[in-house]
Every structure is written in structure tokens, then in C-alpha cells.
């Protein structure tokens, strides 16, 4: 029998109660939110619970929502995959905008090591407990976090190129 969404939802709410919320089917992937302080137990539970068995971390990345409430300005997104049942889930965890930090899952999934470093590099999200949290793709001397929305893509002092003529302005892109 295929793994049903309700089965996952029931197991999680039974174990974690209020800290797992907003269950929904987002197109083809079952999605829910987890409060940032319970992310490691939830992911560990999803991985080790026999009937769930989400043993593969497909992807981990950050998102910046500068217009949201200050408590929810960053999100870390985890894509987990159960190959046996061929079931994917997406977990979103919102974190604080001024002091973004969340517990690392790199001791649960080795592969999270570089994914978390990448997320730190681009968003400045601090993964507590990460063995070597430093920049990975950008140079070490860099002080800003370039994937945050306020970081301009191009040098704002450029005069040779007017973005209005290319259909791109800060307000419509």
C-alpha cells in the first residue's frame, strides 16, 4: 500500500503536536511546515520511523521573504524522498529575519553538510551544530549574503545599461 499523506500527517501530529502544521498538497508534493526548534527531531523521526522511512535528503535550500513578518523572513526548505514507496515530501521551516538560525541536520544526513554551507553562504542562515560552517561558493572575504532580496544583482552605479529598457525594474521583477 502506498504511503498516504494522511498517514504521514497523523504520525507527525501524534508525535509532535502543534509544532508541525499547515499540511497541504502543493501540486505533486505533500508539503508542511515545522517550527524551527523542532526541525531535527522531526527529520530524524521521518528518517527512522519504519513506516515512513524518508531516507534520502534530495535537496535543502533557503528562501528569503523580506516582506513577511520579522519572525518568518527566512525559510529553509527540505525535500525528502522515500525511494521504496516513491514518495516525496517538502518541509518548510520559517525562521527569524534578524537573527536567522536553525539546527543543523548534517549529522542526520551527511549530504546536508555542503547544502547547509551553501545556504549559509547565500542567505547567512546560521546552522547550529554544523561541523564547518563557512562559505563555499563565494570568496571567504565577502561580507554580504548575495541571495537576500536586498542585495542588488548588478552594480547600481552602472550608467551604460538602463534596466527599464529591458523590461526589468526593481518593482516588477
Amino acid at each position: 500500500m502506498a504511503l498516504e499523506n494522511t498517514q504521514i500527517q497523523d504520525k507527525l501530529t501524534e508525535t509532535f503536536g502543534e509544532s508541525v502544521m499547515h499540511f497541504r498538497q502543493e501540486r505533486d508534493i505533500f508539503t508542511f511546515e515545522v517550527s524551527s526548534d523542532t526541525i531535527t527531531p522531526v527529520i530524524l523521526f521521518l528518517k527512522n520511523e519504519e513506516t515512513l522511512n524518508f531516507h534520502f535528503l534530495t535537496d535543502l535550500c533557503g528562501i528569503h521573504y523580506p516582506d513577511s513578518d520579522v519572525n518568518e523572513q527566512f525559510a529553509v526548505v527540505y525535500h525528502l524522498h522515500n525511494w521504496v514507496e516513491n514518495k516525496r515530501i517538502r518541509i518548510k521551516s520559517f525562521i527569524h529575519g534578524e537573527n536567522p538560525e536553525i539546527k543543523s541536520v548534517s549529522n542526520i544526513f551527511l549530504t546536508a553538510n555542503w547544502m547547509e554551507r551553501e545556504t549559509y553562504d547565500f542567505f547567512g542562515i546560521n546552522f547550529i551544530g554544523h561541523p564547518q560552517l563557512k562559505r563555499i561558493l563565494n570568496m571567504d572575504e565577502m561580507i554580504s549574503f548575495p541571495m537576500r532580496k536586498e542585495f542588488p544583482m548588478e552594480d547600481s552605479g552602472r550608467t551604460d545599461k538602463d534596466d527599464r529598457f529591458f523590461g526589468r525594474t526593481p518593482s516588477n521583477c
Binding site: 502543493e26 508539503t31 534520502f56 535537496d59 535550500c61 525535500h79 517538502r90 551527511l110 541571495m147 516588477n172
Partner: protein, 412 residues
């Protein structure tokens, strides 16, 4: 002033000071890369060595980081295709098709069967080029140049087919939302037929050169082995994972573009070493050839090559010049003024090196709100230091080329 220019002491320097061998010899640091012909790309590894043995390695990546995710947030959807070309540039059509399929999933566009089959053909051709490069370069690194020169002419033949389809060779920017920009020419099909006739005997010869070759076996068996458990923990996908014995393939697990219509097997290895990776890729080339033949045989009649989606598909050029309506659509599409729903989409395909995923978040505007690339190379390259510990320096080179780490995909 001079101390400011000196780099801080590397952590290996401390290890070297503490661990003096009994015979008086000492450990050494070797800087492998970033630009060395043997690394086939820009990879730097600082190695801690005891003579010829590697004790530890520290990779540095990001030398060709081009901020594709940031650029993608500022570009309309069709301008993102050229960015995907430049990720795994050995098999760009797979990346292009994966991007179009992500958008089609977002917009719920049904692509005609014939266009799906054409996509399958071009994606399998791309997989063949990817594997030709990886396996023949692995031959070069073990000292066999002949095989490389011999099979590389067929990569050229495949590039000529690409050229017939889309006009470009390496960075293809192929296809459109809903299909292709034009129907495949008769010449493209003729070149494909010639390729399908000439390539298999050459690939057989290539295999014969290596598979039972004493030198090659000595250089690759039990070199860089990784167990299925740790491969999965490190997030391996694609041929490198299958070489360790796990039969996970996105084409089978979540068929896209009508892969469910074709019969093929997933070749798996056993020990996950360099030799198994080589053999898995060899076998996958045969499967790809078989898929292409099946697709040609089952190709539906007619000349459908794109979906009827006037909101997203550029009208023919002569209409744009002569017809007001077409001109308006052309303008709207080029300027990115097309209706886009608010959604979150994850779409994965089996790329040359594993699961290539696009995580797209839209907010209804002309550009993605966030686009994240799940790049298989980036994810499995972190296992490289683990895999070369205890190996010889020359093995490290062989392991790197058997993993087929493509710098463009690693750094995005």
C-alpha cells in the same frame, strides 16, 4: 606589510609538526589544482600526504561560480534556459528540457506525444555524449589515449545532430515551452540514422579496449570504492550511485516525457569502485541507444512538435511581420508579460550525473521568486575527500574523472 600578505597557517601545518615519522620522514602538503590538466576542470584540493599516500584532503570549490540562482531571479522564464546550458555543459539538452518540463508542470501544459519522443531522443543523445566524455577521459587518465580520440568523433556527430535541431552545438538553448522551436529536419533524422549505424560498433570496440584490459583493471578495481549506504548518505544519484548497487533512476521512479513507454534496464554495479562506475556508464550507453531506437520506431505520425499554447509559444516569424495579433503575442512573450500562477514546483529529471532538480517558486510576476538548482555534482563531490583517503595520488585523479564532476554544475 609582508605578514599581511602571508596566508594564515593551514591546519595541516600543525599536523605535520606534531606527527614526525619514526624514520625522520615527515608528512607533506600538496596543492592539487585548481588549474591542472589532470583535474579536467577547476577543482582545488589541498592534500595532506605521507609520501605517495593521501591522508586527508580539503576541497575548495566556487572558482567558476556565476550566481545563476541570483540571475534567474531577475530574468523572464525563457531567458533562464541559456543559464541551464552552462551547468552540465556536457549534456546541456537534458538541462534545457528539464527546465521546460518544470515550466510545463507549473503551467499544466500537455506536450504532444511526438514532441515528448523527440525530447527523449535528444536527452538520450545528451546522456551518450556525457558518458562518452566521462569514460574516454577516464581512459586518458589511466594512460590510454587511443580510445578517447576514437570515440570523440562520435560526440562530434551528436553535436551535428544538435546543430540540425537547434543551430547550436555545446550550449544548445534548445526547445521552447511546450516543445521545440521548429520541427526536426529530414537531415537531422538522416544524421541520427547514420549515428545509430556507425556508433555501436565503435562503442563495442571501445569497451573491448578497456573492460578486460589488465592495466585498466589494475588501475580501477577497488579504487575509490563507496558502499551503497554511504553513497546514499552523501546524496549520490545517477550512475555513481548505481555503481554501488542501488537501482534508483528518475526515469523509472517518476517517468517524465513518456519514459514509461520504453523498455530499458537500469544497469547496476556492485562495489561502487571506479571500474563499476565505468561499466555502469558503458551499459547505460547501450540502453540509451535502445531507447532512441524504440522512440524512432514508435514515433507517432504527423508533425506535431509543440503544444498549442499561444500565450507562451512564440508565433511564426512571418506572422509576426504580417499580422498584428501575432506581433502582440510575440512582444508579450519576449517581454515576459505572460500569465504565471503562484506556485511551488519541484521537477527532477535523470541528468547525466544524477537527479537534476529544479525547485521553482513563482509569485505571479515575470521572473521566478526563487529558483534553486539541485545539482547532482555539487552534492556528491563532497564525498570526494572521503573517497581518496588512503589512496595514491594517481588514484585521486582517476577517481575524480570517474565521478564525472563537471565544474559548471558544481559551481552553478
Amino acid at each position: 606589510m609582508s605578514e599581511l600578505l602571508l596566508p594564515p597557517e593551514h591546519r595541516y601545518a600543525k599536523i605535520i609538526k606534531e606527527k614526525l615519522n619514526e624514520d625522520g620522514s615527515e608528512l607533506s602538503i600538496l596543492n592539487l589544482g585548481p588549474t591542472h590538466p589532470a583535474t579536467h576542470g577547476i577543482f582545488q584540493n589541498i592534500l595532506l600526504m605521507d609520501g605517495e599516500r593521501i591522508l586527508d584532503a580539503e576541497p575548495t570549490i566556487g572558482y567558476i561560480h556565476r550566481a545563476f540562482e541570483k540571475i534567474a531571479e531577475n530574468r523572464p522564464f525563457y531567458q533562464i534556459t541559456p543559464l541551464t546550458d552552462r551547468m552540465n555543459y556536457c549534456s546541456s539538452p537534458i538541462n534545457n528540457m528539464a527546465w521546460w518540463m518544470t515550466l510545463e508542470k507549473l503551467l499544466n501544459i500537455e506536450v504532444p506525444k511526438r514532441a515528448q519522443y523527440l525530447r527523449v531522443i535528444v536527452m538520450e543523445l545528451a546522456r551518450i555524449t556525457d558518458h562518452i566524455i566521462c569514460n574516454s577521459i577516464l581512459g586518458v587518465d589511466t594512460g590510454a589515449y587511443t580510445g578517447f580520440l576514437y570515440v570523440f568523433q562520435f560526440r562530434e556527430k551528436i553535436y551535428e545532430i544538435y546543430e540540425e535541431i537547434c543551430g547550436a552545438r555545446l550550449t544548445t538553448n534548445m526547445g521552447r515551452l511546450g516543445g521545440f522551436e521548429r520541427d526536426w529536419s529530414a537531415e537531422a533524422f538522416r544524421k541520427l540514422d547514420v549515428f545509430l549505424e556507425e556508433f555501436p560498433p565503435a562503442w563495442k570496440e571501445f569497451e573491448n579496449l578497456f573492460e578486460r584490459n589488465r592495466i585498466f583493471i589494475d588501475r580501477t578495481v577497488n579504487v575509490g570504492a563507496i558502499s551503497a549506504e554511504s553513497a546514499m548518505a552523501y546524496g549520490f544519484t545517477g550512475p555513481n550511485l548505481r555503481a554501488a548497487g542501488v537501482d534508483y533512476d528518475v526515469r523509472v521512479a517518476e517517468p517524465y516525457s513518456s519514459y514509461e513507454d520504453f523498455e530499458f534496464i537500469i544497469p547496476v554495479g556492485k562495489s561502487g569502485d571506479t571500474y563499476d562506475r565505468f561499466c555502469v556508464r558503458n551499459a547505460e550507453v547501450w540502453e540509451s541507444l535502445s531507447i532512441i531506437r524504440q522512440a524512432l520506431a514508435k514515433m507517432p505520425e504527423g508533425n506535431d512538435y509543440h503544444a498549442e499554447v499561444p500565450d507562451y509559444y512564440l508565433p511564426p516569424k512571418e506572422d509576426v511581420y504580417n499580422n498584428m495579433e501575432a506581433l502582440i503575442y510575440h512582444f508579450k512573450i519576449v517581454m515576459g508579460e505572460v500569465p504565471v500562477p503562484v506556485a511551488e514546483i519541484y521537477h527532477a529529471v535523470e541528468g547525466g550525473n544524477g537527479e537534476l532538480g529544479f525547485y521553482l517558486i513563482t509569485d505571479g510576476s515575470r521572473t521566478p521568486y526563487r529558483l534553486h538548482f539541485r545539482r547532482p555534482c555539487f552534492i556528491y563531490y563532497q564525498a570526494y575527500p572521503e573517497m581518496i583517503k588512503g589512496a595514491l595520488l594517481s588514484d585521486a585523479i582517476v577517481i575524480l574523472s570517474s565521478l564525472n564532476v563537471i565544474a559548471g554544475e558544481l559551481d552553478a
